[in-house]
């Protein structure tokens, strides 16, 4: 049970860290890069070179 608690603490810490990373990303305006990249047709995905 103690071992499991350690994993839970690690997971929770990781989750908080990931939320902070998301915040940093939003602050760096990365969302716009994600959107613009997604909206450009990915020719690599289709198999066109």
């Amino acid at each position: 049970m103690k071992k499991r608690r350690r994993w839970v603490i690690a997971g929770f810490t990781l989750f908080i860290t990931s939320v902070l990373l998301v915040g940093v990303g939003i602050g760096r305006n990365e969302v716009n890069v994600v959107v613009s990249n997604a909206k450009i047709l990915c020719y690599s995905c289709i198999g066109l070179k």
Partner: protein, 273 residues
């Protein structure tokens, strides 16, 4: 709730939601989804996390937002998304229903997905300046390559109106690489018929990332100890886990098909070496 609803219905529902035909394409383009769903698919709603990750590497920028989103999903449920949400995993599950006899993959094949992640999705994209994993990805062939090429072909031969927009000149651009990619998809389809989820187990970079979170995610199988060890029935494990201690390992997709069953056995008599 999750265990009461058959997993196949979850998978079908999410495959439709990720590629929802009644919303404008890429309405949720800002969100890298926690599954391998190609954003070049004409109906895709969210961004492919691996494609997005590679794009940031190509432009030499650290993808804080994408890493944060993937890590948040991973910390919540690990590879649960592979079993319940991923459309490509669903496709492989359906193919796996064609025959009952399955061949077992060697255990080391499970590390192939890390090779795929590190080499194809992290190292090569900044070198070749394109999302290299996407150029090989069978999910991209299935969800984007075939539909877009088929639409262009229909436009050319039947003068059909454009359904999804774009797509002019695609047929002229189809070359040997397109057919090579289709060949990879065909090989994957063949493998998925004779073994369970071969792509997820050996080549999926998204599964490799989410697998790192499997042990520490909020959603885990009930903890085992000497007195209260749950009994797992691993006979029909879709990723070939045979030992109870390996439940929730990096290979486990948390489908929970072993969960709550009384029989604990590593017997996989239907599989051949």
């Amino acid at each position: 709730m999750i265990s009461r609803i058959r997993r196949v219905w979850w998978q079908a529902s999410w495959a439709i939601l990720f590629n929802f035909p009644f919303l404008a394409p890429l309405t949720f383009a800002w969100l890298p989804v926690p599954a391998l769903n190609c954003y070049a698919c004409p109906l895709a709603q969210g961004a492919c996390p691996i494609g997005t990750l590679q794009h940031f590497l190509v432009i030499a920028s650290i993808p804080f937002f994408t890493i944060g989103v993937i890590a948040a999903f991973g910390a919540l449920a690990g590879r649960f998304y592979c079993s319940h949400l991923c459309p490509f995993g669903f496709f492989q599950d359906l193919l796996g229903r064609i025959t009952q006899k399955k061949y077992r993959l060697p255990s080391y094949a499970g590390y192939g997905k890390y090779l795929s992640l590190v080499l194809l999705a992290l190292i090569l994209p900044p070198i070749v300046k394109e999302p290299f994993f996407c150029t090989l990805c069978p999910a991209g062939s299935l969800e984007a390559g075939i539909p877009i090429a088929a639409r262009a072909w229909a436009e050319k031969h039947f003068a059909a109106e454009q359904i999804f927009g774009g797509g002019f000149g695609i047929l002229n651009m189809i070359g040997w690489w397109f057919w090579f990619k289709i060949g990879i998809l065909a090989a994957m389809i063949g493998a998925a018929i004779v073994t369970r989820r071969p792509f997820c187990r050996t080549a999926c970079p998204m599964g490799a990332i989410l697998g790192l979170f499997n042990r520490i995610s909020l959603l885990v199988h009930p903890p085992g100890d000497n007195t209260d060890r749950p009994k797992y029935n691993l006979r029909n494990c879709p990723v070939g886990i045979t030992h109870p201690d390996h439940v929730d390992s990096h290979n486990c997709i948390k489908c929970r098909e072993c969960y709550g069953k009384k029989e604990e056995t590593g017997d996989r008599s239907q599989e051949k070496e």
